[in-house]
Each structure stands twice: as C-alpha cells, then as structure tokens.
Amino acid sequence: MPAPEQRRIIFKHIDEPGYTPDIDCYVRNGGYEVLKKSVQRKPEEIVDEVKKSGLRGRGGAGFPCGVKWSLLDRKSGKPIYLVVNADESEPGTFKDRYIIHQDPHQLIEGIMITCFANNVKQAYIYIRGEFPEGARILERAIAEARARNFAGPNILGTGYSCEIYVHRGAGAYICGEETGLIESLEGKRPYPRIKPPYFPAVLGLYMCPTIVNNVETLCHVKYIADVGGQAFSQIGTPNNTGTRIFCVSGHVKRPGYYEFETGKITLGQLLNEVCGGPLPGRKFKAVIPGGSSAKVLKFGERFKGKRKAGAEMVDYDWALEDVPMDFDSLAMIGSMGGSGGVIVMDDSVNMVDALANINAFYAHESCGQCTPCREGSLWMKKISNRMVHGDARTEDGALLKSVADQIAGRTICAFGEACSWPTQSFIQKFGDEFKAYPDAKKQPKRDGTLELV
C-alpha cells in the first residue's frame, strides 16, 4: 500500500517560501483569529473541546492533555501557572525547533488560548540553552503579541491579563522532565521531585498548581480551539487522534520531519517511501521509534497478538514494517511513540557501538539524585565503553543487562527507565552481537564503518 499524503497542520507553514516569523506574516495568514474567537467563549468550553479531542501530549509520555488540565487544583486559591516545555532534548527529536524558529506565533497563540482556558495569569517558556536564537525569536514574538494586545494586560479588551516570559535552560537533559524543569525554573539544580505528592497540577511551580505542556501539544490546542474537539478527534485513529510529526534521522536517504495523521502510516511506509529507504548498498537493521530512550526494534522481527479495533478484538500479525506509527501500536510491540524521534541504523552499525554511544549520553545526563541511576548509568557507560575501546568479553552483555535491571522502577523519575531501556532492549534483540563482539572486534572493519563512541 502506498504511503498516505502528509497532512500538515502544525507544520503547515514550515519551510514555506516567503513565510517569516514576524507577527505581520502570521496575521496575514489568519493568525490570532482563534484567540479572538476563544476569549469570547467560556474557558470551560475550551477545556471541554480539548478533552473531546483526545489530544495526547507530544513531549514523550502521550498523556491525555484534557485529563492533565482537569487534574489542576482550581480551588486552592493559589495562582495557576503554565510552563511550556521547550527543552526539546530527547535525542532524535527536532520538531519543536522548527516551530520556535519559523512559526513562533503559532506557539504564542496556543499558549494564550491555554492560559485563558485555565485561568493562568503567568506563563513561562522553558527553552533549552542550546537554542539561543530560538529564545530571541520567542522574546521578539512575545513583544509583538503584547504590542497588539494578544498578550499582557487586558487582552483584547476582555479584562483578562496574562504575561509570558522566556526562561533559558543551560544544557541539562533532565530539565525536560517536568518536575526537574520546575526546580530549574525555581533557580535550583533540576532534581526531579517525587510523585506523590509533587504532581505539578497540585504542587508545581512555587508549590502552586501548574500545567506543563510540550510546544507541539500547545500548537495542537490552538488547532482544536479552531476546529473543535469533535472534528479533531476524527483526524488520525481512535485514541491516537490528530497528527504526529515524525523526526527521522540516521541511515535513510531523506531524513527530516514529516507530519501525518496518527496511526495512518506504517513504519515501513515512513522509512521506505517517505524517507526513500536505506542508503545505497545498505540494509535497515534497527530502529528506535520514539527518541533514544524508546526500546530498539529489529528489522525481521514479527509481532503477533490481539488488538482492539473499534469495539472488537482482532488478531494482528505484523512484520516491523507493518506497524502503524501510533502510541498504542508501538506500546503493544514493546516500544513507544515517545517524542516522535525515529533513529534508523543500517547494517554498517555494530549494535555494541551504538549502545555505547547511547550509554555515554545517559551517564552524562543522569542528575545524580538517585543511586541506582547515578551509579548504574555510569557503569553501563564504563562497561560498554570498555567493550569498544578495551577488552570485550562474551559475558559483558549479561553484565550490562544485570546493571540495567537494577535501575528501572527504583528511581524518583522516569530517567531510570529511559537509561535502562536501551541496554535491556539492545541485549534482548541483539544479544548474539554482544556475545560475538570480542571476535568481531578482531576482524577488519568494513568500509564506511564510523566510530560511534
């Protein structure tokens, strides 16, 4: 079956010739009309539209956005904050970068609608430190929006006021974790908080109720406020509504970003047709479908079981290429849709080298708060690095797995899972390659083999 056409909702204007990030261009293209419409409605109506839409968060966890909003403690009498997670730091993910740099007002409009719907008077955009230009663009966009009364005091004459400030991170991956991000915004080390009791919806920024939403999610909110929750829920597939932006990187002919209705495209269509297939003379070997912490998948694998199709349960028997790229299908086959970052590896890659690269990342980024993660991520890095650069032993795969198995579930935040899933899945799927590594190392490297760690 040929791949469906892209459906660009969030990326509608990305790379459009002549489209600029200033407010005039945005307004010329119908910008801020949805905000004008929204502030005439009751805030609860907008929350209801988002609930009806079935929108799931685009940052990684896929948590329903409307549910997140409805968990807010609205009775505490404390101010409610919105924190926009623009920390985009999951390796393999690069969608928010383009929204921020090319279409910042789409985000600002989504933020203002979200703030209005949830009675938020103060929003912060937490942007990763490595986007200095993005931070400047957003600051300019906020000033423009303020000058036209789309943000700031008495928005559009409604009596409702809300400010937005940009807050820059400083190079720490853990700040993408929502409670770590909040700690960072409070001026501290970004040590994630334990839940319960520190659910942001109740005890978030400054111990006040807080919504933390991803950049792309808020752009979807703008679209939902425009077309309505019902119409949005018709896009994509049930429980996986709307569009999804896939960020494809690694060994394909045409890496890049592609927006499709969620669940309407399979992994095979995405990689073989949309991205042009493997590089000349190579074969696909493995793919990480949702950012580097998602479990790796192996080409040649088959997945069988029963799945829900409407009200019925049906059998499925999929090759990896047949798997629809939605949250539920990827979870069913033991991985995740995560942040939409699809990293492709071909047969030039030795999986031990690839894992060693990933392990170096997680060892560098562990915040150090919980012992299993701080020590475990470091030892996984040391072991895999020794395999590549020092002596490799056939039993090292099992050793790595034994370390990983002692981290997940024993830490305050999900970083514990994020750092152990790659090791666990690489060894589960490519265990033979780990056993054979000591011998493989002695063989001459084939042409085009790159150093990965």
């Binding site: 985009e88 730091s89 999951e90 390796p91 393999g92 993910t93 690069f94 928010d96 970068r97 990763r128 430190g129 490595e130 986007f131 200095p132 230009e133 400030y165 807050h167 820059r168 991170g169 400083a170 190079g171 720490a172 991956y173 960072s184 915004l185 409070e186 001026g187 501290k188 080390r189 970004p190 400054y206 960020c247 494809v248 990187s249 690694g250 060994h251 890496p255 890049g256 970003y257 580097s292 970052g341 990293i343 590896m345 890659v349 690839a354 690269n357 990933i358 170096a360 990342f361 560098h364 980024e365 915040c367 790159l450 150093e451 990965l452 760690v453």
Partner: protein, 163 residues
Amino acid sequence: MDLKPETFARIEEVITHYPTKRSAVLPLLHLIQEDAGYISDSAMEWVAQKLELQPINVYEVVTFYPMFRRKPIGRRHIKVCRTLSCALMGGYRTCEEFKKEFNTGLNQISPDGEVTIEFVECLASCGTAPVVMVDDVLHEKVDCAKAREIAAQIKRKAEGQKG
C-alpha cells in the same frame, strides 16, 4: 562586578519576571557569562548577594549545568554534537577534523587562542546531522570538508581582526 551597563540593566529587568528572586539565578548567570565570557567565583558571590541567596545556592547551579563555565575559553566556541544521530552520520570524524584544524584537544583553548572545541550532547537537529554550533549559530550537515570550510572562515576572521 565589571559588566557592561546594558548587562546591569537587563539583570534588573529579568529579576522582575519572577515572584521569587531565586528563579533569576539561571538568567543572571547567562547574562554574566555572555558579557564576561565565564563565571568567576566573585561573580557567583555577586549573584548570591543580588538575589539574597547563599553563595552555595549559586555554586551548586553553576557546577550542575553543562553550559556554565568557570574558566575563560577561546574567542569562538565550537560545539560538535556527539549523540547517536550525529555519530551515525560521522560526528566523531567532524570533531576530529576541528581538533586537527586548530591543533587542539577538547575543552581547551587552542594555541592561537582562537577556539575552544567541545563535544556536546544532542543539539536537537538530528535530521541534518552532523551538526555543529559555532557560538550561537547552528551549522548543518557538517562533514569533514564543511568542517574545514568553517575552520577557514574562523581563521580568516581572526586574521582580519588582527590586521
């Protein structure tokens, strides 16, 4: 503190963004580092005093976040992405090429004082790997040839400034 008048003005302004002064630690450190090139011990003490904190509260932040540095670096900062997607497309080679061009190792000032090369984690531009940031500017698809071009540009600019 020896900073430009506009840096002081921006410091005063940014503190007003937050209900608690402590939240301004990261913005202040960014502003100081952009102005002074690095964060000295006396700068940390100054920030602590400014925000009514203990110096340890600033020190623990500076030592945690990779982007803050406590020593000066070369005039230009080259950050090569090390993480998987870039490595799969030759990021390690790109990094080696820069080291060779400037005759230097990682995290040190090159002999000509021109650059400091850092091998950083994911810069979130994996679709155009390998990527490199020179100061605030992102360069995409930087293979060895492009790395040499960028190095030549930096060197030409340095020559121009001397002459």
